[in-house]
Assembly symmetry: C2
Homo-oligomer: 349 residues x 2
DNA sequence: TGTTAGCACTCAAAAGAAAGGAGTGCTAAT
DNA sequence: ATTAGCACTCCTTTCTTTTGAGTGCTAACA
């Protein structure tokens, strides 16, 4: 920060020009090119001097002697920060809607990933929202056949879960009714994190001889709450990375695409993003900044959306460091808004 | 077929030797190599003559003059057919178990894909079983809140589906009870494909003023039955294709990996496989034979497994034409057996 | 003091040239 | 029918040369 402000106006302009040019072409940019590109009419020699300074300060570097300059991570970081400040006050005017209506959440999310990928030409991911501090809305046990009952659990946000429970005995209808009553009167509307061991013990006690069944049900609830479990991640356009030579040698391509197939690393990324929220929920990780080592040669831009009732998810794009940050951030923001809106207005299902 | 038998014993041996050698090395194989490799002691010159014949017959070809020979699709086909015949009577002895127990079907399938990939070093896929001619086991409607009820539908094989239904009115408990009774007495144990329009009309009539709700429920059932919808495909090891230079130029790699990400093409492949069952349910597509154009430079080997009650799914591997067919078929068969067994013995969930 | 023209120098990438070698097809001898 | 021998092909590898974009530095200039 302190260092940033110490850059002269002219150096800033030159740095910005270098970066923008490099974003477009992907080639190291030299002094002659710049002397035409910038509005300030300077000879290439002058620019060379400034560039040498910028290199000393660590904002740019040469891939080899006698090549033009390329932005370093530090350079990108400064650029992105400037970008963010500029956009701060700018009101994003309503874009055309990107998403079509669809009645299942997962369809919407998968579609979101696709739209994002086709709009940006980068690899994208969308995580399903996780039920943070959710409430239990409704429980229902039903006998399926002699030895099985199914427990249906509806969470706030109308997320439905089920679990088949094996019981040794056949339960009578009235027993079931009683159990349902017991569970619902106690648990309905209860935030999940308030279901304590004490409460469970009390319920079991009240269930009498059927305490075992109640135990199973609560186990099922516990299982469902376990967040990691069902964070689904939808991806699209992983193969877009082939469009960027700096990422598409076998080694890198394999690593990145693996990450997209296995999804575990993406999940980590999402977790990280959700943990450290920031700037309108838009975060930019450049190179090593990303919480996952696989992405060390990429930039990752993420945003958080909210499907009401504290259910948060992440959308993100992964691309080369020389990505079109401006466009990406704009697209991401638009999509974020649309996702935020979709649940509030649309009485889905 | 007629042509195949016209190959002399010696030509067959040579062809086999060529293919096996090529499978190992990936390099075109020349006459000198062969004259050592084969048990029949022939000079390279003799072998050259035979090879020229084999080339005329279309079983092998040269990538360029003055290179060794490579098997053509036709050559591979003959080889695989021979392999199949040999294996016909061979009893596969019990292998070590590959799969660990897991309580959700989808975990098992995902794991199956992984195991397959790590055992073969090819890209793999596993499709979830589709509920062919399934039966409806149980239906339950429950009131969730004022305007929503949830319909839980259990299918044979304990597949559970739910759907939230918006109702304008609040239904009384006894109404719900009556509807549940009505639906279950009529529909329980009924094969899904026997739910006809006539039946639906009759049910609606019996439901009286609540015919609308019944309609919604049956819509939900219809939606669930729609097969394509929920054929999930689990993949693993897509990046294994980078191990085979003939598939890992940008163009091919991008296409193949895209197919693995989008999954639509894999779904087509599965559909095709399930339609035309064969040889112990093991099928080999070489190059152009595959029903999907993307795989024209690959070989695809698939097998069908059955999770009881006619629920069939497909496991398959995709790799270069010069894949180790023998090992792949063996591994596939083992896994197929394990999947077949898992449901029959294991009272899962 | 900041700017610029000029020039020697560097080095990656492209193009060319030469050598090597695996493999073939054909002919003639066994 | 088999094989040794030889001329020929053409891919692959290696080395060299050329090219050209770009730099840093110095000296002149405003």
């Amino acid at each position: 920060m302190a260092v940033d402000t110490s850059l002269s106006e002219r150096k800033l302009i030159i740095l910005k020009a270098i970066i923008q040019n490099y974003l477009e072409t992907g080639e190291p940019v030299g002094s002659r090119t710049l002397s035409k590109y910038t509005e300030l009419n300077l000879s290439s020699a002058t620019i060379r001097n400034e560039m040498a300074d910028l290199e000393d300060l660590g904002y740019i570097f040469q891939p080899h002697t006698s090549a033009g300059r390329i932005p370093s991570d530090k350079g990108y970081r400064l650029y992105v920060d400037m970008l963010m400040e500029e956009k701060e006050q700018e009101i994003t005017e309503r874009e055309d809607a990107m998403l079509q209506k669809a009645d299942k959440v997962e369809q919407v999310l998968q579609q979101a990933a696709k739209v994002l990928a086709s709009n940006t030409n980068y690899a994208t991911m969308v995580s399903s929202p996780i039920n943070n501090r959710n409430t239990l809305k409704f429980i229902q046990l039903s006998q399926v056949d002699e030895e099985q009952i199914v427990a249906v659990i509806v969470l706030g946000g109308n997320v439905i879960k089920n679990k088949i429970i094996e019981v040794g005995e056949t339960l009578s209808n009235e027993t079931l009714l009683k159990l349902n009553m017991l569970l619902n009167t106690t648990l309905n509307g209860m935030p999940i994190d308030q279901i304590t061991l004490g409460l469970i013990a009390r319920l079991k006690e009240q269930a009498g001889i059927h305490s075992e069944v109640v135990g199973h049900v609560l186990d099922a609830v516990a299982e469902i709450i376990h967040v990691e479990d069902d964070m689904k991640i939808y991806t699209s356009g992983a193969t877009n990375i082939f469009k960027y030579p700096e990422l598409s040698d076998k080694q890198s391509a394999q690593e990145i695409i693996s990450a997209f197939e296995e999804k575990q690393q993406l999940a980590d990324l999402v977790t990280e993003t959700l943990a450290s929220e920031d700037n309108h929920g838009i975060q930019v990780y450049i190179g090593e900044e990303a919480p996952v080592k696989t992405m060390k040669d990429c930039s990752v831009v993420t945003a958080t959306y909210e499907l009401g009732e504290g259910m948060k998810g992440t959308i993100g794009i992964i691309g080369p460091k020389r990505m079109d940050y401006e466009h990406v951030m704009k697209t991401l923001k638009t999509l974020q808004n649309e996702l935020d809106a979709i649940y509030n207005k649309d009485p889905k299902e």
